[in-house]
Symmetry: C2
Subunit: 401 residues, 2 copies
């Protein structure tokens, strides 16, 4: 038989989804699995978006323009002009989720073997997109003890080689929930100017910033407009992950025109998802206020609850709906699997994402897990109870091994 | 500024879509453009699929399983078991269009620099997927004079190098409409066995075979089951290109498991499109009979009409809904552009896809165009009239240059 490709073999499994078979087995045994592993919110999709889909009046579900429907792109231009004045629809390509936007960005900007610096822990699928496009991730470590703040500029300088071609951040961060300050973004600006790099930001959680803090988009960094590529998605903003609609926003038209060729090859982004997404632009601001208020309550409940468990430490995130917690266990991969395979409390257990998959450096994050607070407060309370009891039981097992 | 990637720079423009700006200008002048350039059928999407979308009852449009909804995959398994007995849902991954299925197949099976042999002319976007995944296309020529039959086995042998890792066919063919015979497929089987290769088929036009001929799927080639990857899509089958739902079908579970990791990285295929696609599995067979009958009439009208124009030659396709015609012009790229920029007849003109983009060998196909017979017979009649008059006028212009 011909061999599989090296990139196929080395492609990492998703730490968010790799434990799914164990969860399925637990469910088959009748155990209720509370999913803290995946950022699939239970928040309702705005009715205006659902109604638009239900009211489609199209005898043929046709391809859209490869860049997305122009009416939608113009609607997005209004949205982004509030984020950063002067974004035109020509600066926006509609993509199949933020995933495709990032794959396109890597493919268009990097040669195989080029390096991208990413503060870790980072969204695990960046490893997947890097592997499939032949790009090498160079991680620099941000620490749970410092709440995952941007690493010092010296760490970036030390990581830069002649192969370095860009820096990628996620802001607010997945998995950390960290929200970057203006000072931190200004530091990144200095570095990319000095070393002639691209600067990518995954800003899909832009709408979810808490405690009165405002999101600062990379699109607002003056003087490096041509270096900045922003990856976005409607998945979390409107709680409609399944429509698979994202966007690539960039003022550099050479980049846009190159990515447009990639977009043409795959013909068009999903038409039905674009209908939902265009309608969702009219979502009333009260929706976001309510959703944000709910996430803040969930965050406080979860994070405060985590820190009350003996041996657990979890910095309070400033945005998104994830938290990374350090647990008093040796190996969170094993612990997360054990929680699904061996544990139950009143017929329930929890599924978490082991944080090791969110680090590129081998051995990092072994005691950490990512938790998504996308479920009701009642569920989160049960989850905390399961976790507290689970840790105690697991520690006994650990001690006997 | 940092440079764009080499693959980004070399990424070909779509020959199907690259003339869009000229078409837009023509439309802005008030000229009606008849689109023969793109396989966007005017055939109605089955009502059962549209109704399923209109009747969605989901408060949250969630991610699906990365492999696609299990209920849909099980429905597909029934469908494919009619194509080839014994296909299980585990052999099927739901993808974002056939495009993603092919990108996944290339990424999982080929290292950058590996070679895939494709009989040309071939679907232009294969060049794009090859470029973006670092795979080298080695074309072998099939000729319009022989109706685009499979090139002789010696041509394959001559093209095989130590870098060759697979052969890709499109059956029935886009752009040629050619339908391969059992003998031709058996030849391919011999070659891939002898040289230890993968064999890929794009079978998205499977349902459209004419004149009583039956489609033979690669899934039916005995003894090479582990080498065969089939790319499929609902786009053309149910005339719903915009839902962006395809499939990768393969009996080799190592391949499936590797592609599953790529699928996990992009989270899930579109949920709304899957709802339409699952419902479409129940499309009555009368739908396909009517659609096929309509395509046969259109084919006969178009192809017979083309062959009546002086200097034009077009072999009659056995399937799909495309035809490649040789025109009495020096450079069909220039002619197609001229038809949009300079020509109109009674306020109308036609947009065609220059065939050069469907060849990998430089200089091939320069006199040829691809025409999609996806429009009403009335429109096709007008298109033929435009083409006949357009050729005559263009020849005068050519003569004076």
């Amino acid at each position: 038989m011909p061999k599989l490709s090296d990139r196929g073999i080395h492609m990492p499994e998703s730490p968010i989804r790799k434990l799914v078979p164990f969860a399925e087995k637990a469910k088959a045994k009748g155990v209720e699995v509370i999913h803290l592993n995946i950022g699939q919110p239970d928040i309702k999709t705005p009715e205006i978006a659902i109604e638009a889909v239900k009211n489609i009046n199209m005898p043929v579900i046709e391809y859209s323009h490869s860049a997305g429907n122009e009416s939608y792109r113009k609607g997005l231009a209004e949205y982004y002009s509030k984020v950063s004045p002067g974004i035109s629809f020509e600066n926006i390509l509609v993509t199949t989720g933020g995933s495709e936007a990032l794959s396109f960005a890597f493919t268009a900007c990097f040669n195989p073997g080029d390096e991208v610096i990413i503060p870790e822990p980072f969204y695990a699928n960046y490893n997947g997109f890097a592997e499939s496009t032949g790009v090498n991730v160079v991680p620099i470590n941000s620490n749970i003890e410092e709440g995952f703040a941007l690493p010092p500029i010296e760490d970036f300088e030390a990581a830069i080689s002649e192969k370095t071609k860009g820096i990628l951040i996620c802001n607010p961060g997945n998995p950390t929930g960290y929200l970057y300050t203006q000072e931190e973004l200004d530091k990144l600006k200095q570095i990319v100017e000095k070393h002639d790099l691209y600067l990518f930001a995954d800003e899909v959680y832009r709408e979810f910033c808490y405690d009165g803090r405002e999101h600062i988009s990379l699109l607002n960094l003056k003087g490096i407009e041509d270096r900045v590529l922003v990856v976005d998605s409607v998945s979390k903003r409107y709680s409609m992950c399944g429509v698979r609609i994202g966007a690539l926003v960039c003022r550099n038209m050479d980049v846009i025109n190159t990515i447009m060729k990639l977009a043409q090859a795959r013909l068009s982004p999903p038409s039905l998802g674009q209908i939902a997404s265009e309608a969702a632009l009219k979502t009333p601001s009260t929706y976001f206020e309510e959703v944000s208020a709910e996430y803040v309550q969930r965050r406080d409940l979860l994070v405060d609850g985590l820190n009350e468990i003996e041996g657990v430490f979890c910095p309070k995130p400033g945005g998104a709906f994830y938290a990374v917690a350090k647990l008093p266990v040796e190996d969170s991969d094993d612990f997360c699997r054990w929680m699904l395979e061996e544990f139950e409390h009143k017929g329930q257990t929890i599924m978490m994402a082991p944080a090791s998959g969110f680090y590129s450096t081998k051995g990092k994050g072994k005691q950490e897990v990512r938790l998504a607070y996308v479920l009701s407060q009642d569920k989160l309370k049960v989850a905390l109870e399961c976790l507290e009891i689970g840790i105690k039981e697991y520690q006994k097992v650990e001690a006997t091994v």
